[in-house]
Assembly symmetry: C2
Homo-oligomer: 158 residues x 2
Amino acid sequence: MTTDSDTPWLTDQEQRAWRTHLDVSRLLMHQLERDLQPFGLTNNDYEILVNLSEAEDHRLRMSDLAASTLQSKSRLSHQITRMENAGLVRRESCESDRRGLYAVLTEEGWDTMRRVAPHHVASVRKHFIDLFSPDDLQALRASLTPVAEHLRVQRGTI
Amino acid sequence: MTTDSDTPWLTDQEQRAWRTHLDVSRLLMHQLERDLQPFGLTNNDYEILVNLSEAEDHRLRMSDLAASTLQSKSRLSHQITRMENAGLVRRESCESDRRGLYAVLTEEGWDTMRRVAPHHVASVRKHFIDLFSPDDLQALRASLTPVAEHLRVQRGTI
DNA sequence: GGGGATTAATTCACTATTCAACTTTTAACA
DNA sequence: TGTTAAAAGTTGAATAGTGAATTAATCCCC
């Protein structure tokens, strides 16, 4: 950040857009978390399950999993430990790089995923996707994509 | 949530919109947090300061502050304790309702707010607002507003 | 005006996250 | 080759967040 003190304040429109975005982010995460609770999962748990489910052999290197879930290695490590204790994943060592570990979906993890996913999708639809017209959704994606890219670049250049 | 197992899966378009939204939310919060770090504030701290700054007499009832920042009372209580220790706010008892407390901005809190706000605005512009065309921003707000309203209703009916 | 429900806020015990320090293995390169 | 630097991952202590239980004041209404 340059410490520009001549940055213009947000206009009313901008202010409202910004706050609405903030509110939606927060309220949505809350709601999804609540909808997952009956299944004994958190949003974080679920995201790990999704990533592993979509990965080849249901396994990913810890680093890759951390990167794709945007978490720190430390946080992921703790997270995987918890999920390991819950029987959803296990760690397996990596032959090609003896520093490395895979997080692997267990049978139970995979079953859980298949059981919970429909409910989660319903939740995402009900509280987000289905509240937009197809055009609005398309516009949303289009205008958000460059923002995501910008932020990814920023993130890289720590 | 109804446990509809016949909810259609997300289309490719929907999937992408959804994941982009998720990524932007998370990356953005991260980036803002990072930009606030040099000033010794977290996003939460900053949001409390904003709310108090905008309130009459720089004071708000704990409950109102919790509601407007979408936090639980418990969390807010801890948060205010930390900010009190940091000298940014203080608690004051409420005459009209002896159960109640006000969180009040201290001089130092107000100074901090005035000092940090321009940098925060610059950060919000750089990483969010200025990445949209005015029309896109307007469209974003328009399509997000009903979502926020929907989620607020859900939240109320706990 | 007195008893039961509600509301404001905090506290306690527990879980989650962060940040820095650490171990082990691999890569670089002189 | 040896030696240093970088990367993968974990650990541990400190901080933050959650949810249920608790305290104290107010509301209600008969």
